[in-house]
């Protein structure tokens, strides 16, 4: 039986981060686990080649991202973006839950590549160059996609009411 201890060590150390990134992309923990599992299996199949690479983390993110994009292309996984985001009044005690729902809703409304750019740059803290390498595009594309995604998020988040009274006004 081949020795896969270094693969296990790598995946165990990165699993949590990969899973959280997948959640921000998918918007659903079950789908995130599916995507992460598939990405791990792909990494394992080619591990002998991958472990020789300089930046294994970047490659792993690339595999995760492509797996997510592939999954989205499957007919039964196609998403339907809604034109209007649900905005509702909440009690202050629900604020944390509401903020979480709000950001996930706004992320889900972004086109796939812009969502990926936001997650890679603002959650995984990747530079423009690193994000371009993961997405397989130019740095200019990353900058323009980031700018457009931030414009969309900024516009959407401005309309999220701060309090229940404000929402009722």
């Amino acid at each position: 039986m081949p020795d896969d201890s270094d693969f296990r060590e790598y995946v165990t150390a990165r699993l949590d981060q990969l899973r959280r990134t997948a959640y921000l992309l998918c918007g659903d923990w079950h789908a995130a686990d599916d995507v992460t599992s598939t990405a791990i299996m792909k990494l394992m199949r080619h591990w002998r080649r991958i472990r020789e690479l300089e930046n294994v983390d970047s490659y792993a993110r690339q595999v995760l991202l492509r797996t997510w994009l592939d999954e989205r292309r499957r007919p039964w996984r196609r998403e339907w973006a809604t034109a209007v985001l649900p905005v509702r009044a909440v009690a202050a005690a629900d604020r944390v839950v509401d903020e979480r729902l709000a950001i996930m809703g706004h992320l889900a409304a972004l086109p796939a590549r812009r969502r990926a750019v936001i997650v890679l740059r603002f959650y995984d803290d990747l530079s423009v160059e690193e994000t371009a390498a993961v997405l397989g595009c130019s740095t200019g594309t990353v900058k323009s996609q980031t700018s457009r995604a931030l414009d969309t998020l900024r516009a959407a988040l401005v309309h999220v009411p701060e309090t229940a009274e404000e929402a009722a006004r």
Binding site: D4, R8, L15, R20, D33, T36, R45, R100, L150
Partner: protein, 228 residues
Amino acid sequence: MNLQEMLKTAVADPPPSDIDLDDLTQRVRRRQVSTRWAVGVGGLGLAVTVAVAAAGLTTLDDGARHRPENGATQLVPRPPASADPRQELMAARLTVQLRELGPEFGVPAGTVFAVERGEWGAASDGYWYVARWSSGGVQLAIIVRRALIPQEDGCAKNGPDMSCERTEGADGSVNYVVTEGAGAAPSRQAENYRLDDTAVMVTATGGTAFTVEQLLTLAQLPGWSLVG
């Protein structure tokens, strides 16, 4: 709260993971074993078919040496090739794509893809698939190999009498077009690096019959993929 904080809040307390690393490992191993079996059985079948066909041909040609079919010129001697039956099957698949090219590329009947051992170390598995032919006085070659997309933004191929341009496709693939030498007999080349780790290089040497745009269109045909 800024965007980074919002994203970190969104994933702050994840539910327990459904991912079982042992199960995933076993699934990958099972798949690898079944793939090896399938390839082994397929290879054995292919070897028997080839042996039977070879025996049939030997009795027909009276021991005469094989010559290329009409128009299919062997331009360079082939280096030692692999005996891996999977590679022979892949070469046959690429040959099917080659046969589908239109008359503009003038591929003579009988031109096929061969498996060769890579000499530049450029193919990640050490082998490439190549078809060579001559059309209108221009020598054409298509080389298909496994290679990762180059990460650098510039062109590696540059020189005093050479121009090179790198572009990125909408699908994330990377293209290079290179022109070397001026006058009536330049050498032109187009390369297409794909997300599935397939790289296709089309070269036209010794004439101006083919533009780099034509060569790039040829290199970008989906049928050259080494996946599947």
